[in-house]
Amino acid sequence: MSGAPAGTRVFIVDDHRLFLAGVRAELGAAFEIVGEADDVEGAIRAIGEAQPDVVLVDVHMPGGGGAAVVEAVGRTHPDVRFLALSASDAAEDVIGVIRSGARGYVTKTISPADLVDAVRRVREGDAVFSPRLAGFVLDAFADTQPQVLDPELDRLSTREREVLRLIARGYTYKDIAGELHLSVKTVETHVSSVLRKLQLSNRHQLTRWATERRIV
C-alpha cells in the first residue's frame, strides 16, 4: 500500500540537478521532503541539522560519493536511514555503499510507486534488495571457503539463500512468503539478516572491493 507512517521526513542527496527535481516531484505527495543537497560536505551538514528519517543518496558524487555521506552521518546520527539510489549498478558501487551502512540499493530506473514502497520499507527498518543486489550477494557468498572467519557472518543460511534467489527471480516479499510458506515478517527478517552479513562480513570478495577503492 502507498503512503507512509505519518510524516516520514525524507532528505535527498544527488549532484544531478534534473534528477533531484524529478525525485522531489515523485515523492512529494507521499512524504515530507525536508531538504536537498548536491555535494558531500553540504549533505553531511544539512542532514545533521534537518535530522530526517530516510535519506536518498546517490552513489557517484565528487568528494567520496554517497558512501562518504553514509559513513559520516552514521557516526553522529545512527538513527538516520539511508537508501542508495543510483544510475550505476556496478558491483563495487553497490557493495561499497551498503558496507558503509546503507539499508538498500535501487537503480534510477525504478518506477515512482516502487520508490515510494522502498522508502517506506527503509523507514520501517527493513532492507531493500533489488534483484541485481540479490545476485551480487549470492555471487559474493558463493564459494564456501575452507576456513570461514566468522561462521555467523560469513555464510548464508539455506533459508537466506532461498529468499535471495527468489528476490533475484523477481518475486515480491508477498510472493516469497507464499512460496516458502512463511509470513512476510519472517521474510523481512531474513533479508535484514543478509544485509547485516553483507555489511559486516570479512569475506574476501567483499573486502577486496573496499581495499581497491581504499575505503576500509
Binding site: P131, R132, A134, G135, D139, G170
Partner: protein, 386 residues
C-alpha cells in the same frame, strides 16, 4: 641516425639496426670501407614516403648471429687485402663493438622474411620502436666486460704504459664533469618524456571514449528526439543504457565471447530491442557456453518472447544460476498468466519447442502459471562433470 641507412638496411635484412650501425663503425676502421659502403647505399636507396606502420623487427637470433659471423669474415678478408688500419686498432674496437651489440641488440624469436626493395627509414618519422624487453643482468655484465676489455686493450696497445694511468684519470675526471653539467638536464628530459607519454596516452583514451560515445549515445539521443512514440523512446533509451553500462563497467577485460553471462546479456538486449519490454537479467556464477547451455539460452529467448507477446506485463525477469552440478534459468513475468492445462493442442507450439530443445540435451522444463498470477518458466540443465 644520420640518414636512416642503417635502419633501412636492418629492416631489409631482418636484423636489428643497432647491429648494422656497429658493423658500419667497425668496417670503417678497415680502410674506411664502412664509410664508403654507407655512402654507396645512401646513394642507391630510395626514400620511403608512406608512414611506416610496421614495428621494426628485432631479427631472429640466428640471423643476428649470422650477420656477426659474416662481418667477422669480411673483416678478415679486408685484412688480408690490406684495407686495414692495424691489428692493434681494429680488433679492440671490434671486441668493444661486440660487447655493445650483446647489450643492445634485440633478438626476438620471430625472423622476418627478405623484403624486396631497400627503402630508407628515417628514424624521426615514426618514432622509436616499442621499448625493448628488459635486458638481463647477465647480458649487461658480459657486454660491459667486453666493452671495458676492448677499450683497455685499445689503450694498452696504442699508448705507452705510463700514459694509461693518466688517460684513465683524465677520462674519469672528464666524465664526472660532464655528469655534473648535463646530468640534471638529462633527468629533466627523461621526466618530460615520461610526462609527454602519459599525456599522449590520456589523449588517446579520450579520443576512444569520444568515438564510442559518438557512435552510440549521440545517435540514440538523436533518434529519441525524433521519435514521438513514448514506448519506442523508452525502449531506445533502455537499450542504450544497457550498452553504455556494459561498456563502462567492463573495459578492462575484453569481453569473453564464450561466457554464459555475455550470452545472457546479449539475449536480454535483443529481446528489449525487438519487443519493447524491460528485461531484468541477473546471472549468478559463470561458465563457458557449450551446446547444452546454448540450448538453454535459446529456450530462454523463446520464453522471453512469449512473455513479451502474450503476458501484457511491462517487464520480465530472467535469472540464471550456475552451480557445480546444474544450470538453472527462470523466466518470470507478472502478467495475466494462463492455465497450462487448458491450452489447446494446436497452440502448444512454443512450450513443446522449449521443452524439446532442453530434452535433447538432458534438461527439463517446468511451466508454472495461473490466470491473473503471472507465468514462470523454469529450465534446468544438468552439467556434466568436467
Amino acid at each position: 641516425m644520420i640518414a636512416g641507412v642503417a635502419g633501412g638496411l636492418g629492416e631489409w635484412l631482418g636484423v636489428d639496426s643497432v647491429l648494422v650501425r656497429l658493423a658500419f663503425v667497425v668496417l670503417s676502421l678497415a680502410g674506411g670501407v664502412g664509410i664508403a659502403l654507407y655512402l654507396i647505399l645512401f646513394a642507391v636507396s630510395r626514400e620511403e614516403t608512406e608512414a611506416p606502420e610496421r614495428v621494426r623487427p628485432g631479427g631472429g637470433r640466428q640471423r643476428t648471429l649470422a650477420a656477426i659471423l659474416v662481418l667477422a669474415g669480411v673483416l678478415l678478408v679486408l685484412r688480408s687485402i690490406g684495407l686495414w688500419f692495424g691489428d692493434a686498432f681494429v680488433w679492440p674496437v671490434a671486441i668493444a663493438a661486440f660487447g655493445s651489440a650483446i647489450i643492445w641488440v634485440r633478438a626476438d624469436r620471430s625472423g622476418r622474411g627478405w623484403q624486396p626493395g631497400f627503402p630508407l627509414r628515417p628514424q624521426s618519422a615514426n618514432g622509436e620502436a616499442p621499448s625493448a624487453p628488459s635486458i638481463s643482468p647477465a647480458r649487461l655484465l658480459f657486454g660491459a666486460v667486453l666493452v671495458a676489455g676492448g677499450t683497455a686493450a685499445f689503450l694498452a696497445s696504442n699508448t705507452s704504459r705510463g700514459a694509461i694511468g693518466t688517460v684513465i684519470v683524465a677520462t674519469a675526471v672528464t666524465l664526472s664533469g660532464l655528469a655534473l653539467i648535463i646530468g640534471p638536464w638529462i633527468m629533466r628530459l627523461a621526466r618530460q618524456l615520461g610526462d609527454e607519454r602519459r599525456e599522449r596516452i590520456r589523449v588517446e583514451e579520450r579520443q576512444d571514449v569520444a568515438a564510442h560515445l559518438h557512435d552510440s549515445v549521440l545517435q540514440t539521443l538523436a533518434l529519441i528526439q525524433r521519435s514521438d512514440d513514448p514506448a519506442r523512446m523508452a525502449a531506445l533509451a533502455r537499450v542504450q543504457e544497457r550498452e553504455l553500462r556494459s561498456w563502462l563497467y567492463r573495459p578492462q577485460n575484453p569481453q569473453r565471447g564464450d561466457l554464459l553471462s555475455t550470452a545472457v546479456d546479449a539475449l536480454a538486449e535483443r529481446i528489449e530491442l525487438a519487443h519493447r519490454i524491460r528485461v531484468e537479467s541477473v546471472v549468478v556464477g559463470d561458465c563457458p557456453v557449450d551446446d547444452g547451455l546454448q540450448a538453454v539460452v535459446d529456450a530462454c529467448g523463446e520464453a522471453l518472447t512469449n512473455a513479451a507477446k502474450h503476458s501484457g506485463a511491462a517487464w520480465v525477469s530472467l535469472y540464471v544460476e550456475v552451480d557445480a552440478d546444474a544450470v538453472t534459468a527462470y523466466v518470470r513475468d507478472q502478467g495475466k498468466g494462463f492455465d497450462p492445462g487448458a491450452v489447446p493442442e494446436d497452440r502448444r507450439g512454443i512450450a513443446d519447442s522449449i521443452r524439446g530443445r532442453l530434452q535433447r540435451h538432458g534438461g527439463t522444463v517446468e511451466v508454472v502459471s495461473a490466470p491473473g498470477n503471472g507465468t514462470e518458466v523454469r529450465l534446468t540443465l544438468p552439467r556434466s562433470a568436467e
